[in-house]
Structures are given as C-alpha cells and as structure tokens.
Amino acid sequence: MIEERVVQILDGLGVPYELMQIDPAFADTAACCEKYALPLESAGNTIVVASKKEPRKFGACVVKATRRLDVNHAVRALLGVSKVSFASAEETKALTGMMIGGVTVFALPPDLPIYVDDKLMDREWVILGSGSRSSKIKISPEVFRRIPNTTIVPGLAQDIAR
C-alpha cells in the first residue's frame, strides 16, 4: 500500500514528522486547510508536469498552495523541453501510484526529478500529501534536502497576484 511505503521512506529520511489522519472528503488543499485550521502558506502541493512532445518527459514540482508554478519558463527550462503541461489525473496515478489529492514527493519513481520552490523552505513546517486522501504529513521543509533527485529552485513559482 502506497501510504505504508511513504511512511517507510519517511522513517528512513530521519526527519521528525506527524502523520495526520484526515477525512478523505477534505483531502483537497483549500478544504483541508479550512477544516483543520492549517495555513495555506504551509500547504505544499506536489504537481506532476510533463513535456507535450513524445517521448513524454515527467517531473514533480512542489509549491505552496499560495503560489503558482512558472510552467512556461522555470519548469520548461528545468525539464529541457519546449512545451510543458500538467500530467492528467490518470497519468499521475499511473506514474506515482498515488491518488489525486494525496500525491506526495515521497515514494516517487527514483528517476523522476523533483523540484521544490525555495519559498517553502521559509516555513517552520509544511503539510504534504501522504499518497492517499486519508492523511497528511506535517514535517520540516528540511526534509526536501534529504530526498534524492531533488533540487530546491528559486523562482519555481510566483505569488498569486493581488
């Protein structure tokens, strides 16, 4: 089961964490933050992106819920492709084995590059998916420095304009 695999990997990374059990009906970011009084600024969403051209080249990006991924510049340059789009729910599930609403950076395929927006590193802790919709992980962002194949990227995302 993916959630068990995620916990196994977390235990191996050596960063203290809290596995928060949640109602799966409130797994989506805005609903989860509202229901459990969590700041949106601390919610880290893992978004799978893919090149538009075949063969499809995939990557996983982690950004705050309050910031928008710079798909057309930063992500495109990181993947080294001409056009990038978001992986569909079906592609994401097939690639990660995780459910939409629970996708996380832990237990991703080892060859999948991971890019983390540097603004997440400012938080004392972040809320990440657990692989399923029934729990979330509360952990220091320092964990990103311990995940293989992960790059912390300045300018990966931009604040949602006011």
Binding site: D28, A30, N45, F86, A157
Partner: protein, 57 residues
C-alpha cells in the same frame, strides 16, 4: 451575485477558491490558472452553462 475571495489554492491545473457571499461561504473551482484571483479580490458569481456540480460536504 457578488462575493469576495477568502481563500485561493493553486493545484496546478485548477484553482480552488472559497468565496464569501451573501448566502454564505461557497467553494468554487476554476481552470483559469493563468489569471488567479488573490484573497480579497471582489468577484461576481454566475452559474456555469453546464449547471452546478454537487460535491460531498
């Protein structure tokens, strides 16, 4: 109907909004991620031509 964005969450291919309105807090999703609305933005709400979508509370 008029409202104000109280929460905005980016999820890649869509935005999720909580909208404060005269009939209470509304949950709205939008595929318009290129022009996201920030918290505090005033908005006008209409029903989409395809109708409304029911979700679990």
């Amino acid at each position: 109907m008029r409202g104000t964005v109280s929460r905005a969450a980016y999820l890649g291919s869509r935005m999720e909004y909580s909208i404060a309105s005269e009939i209470g807090e509304l949950f709205v999703t939008s595929p318009a991620v290129d022009a996201p609305l920030a918290p505090g933005s005033p908005v006008a709400l209409t029903l989409a031509t395809h109708g409304i979508t029911l979700i679990r509370p």
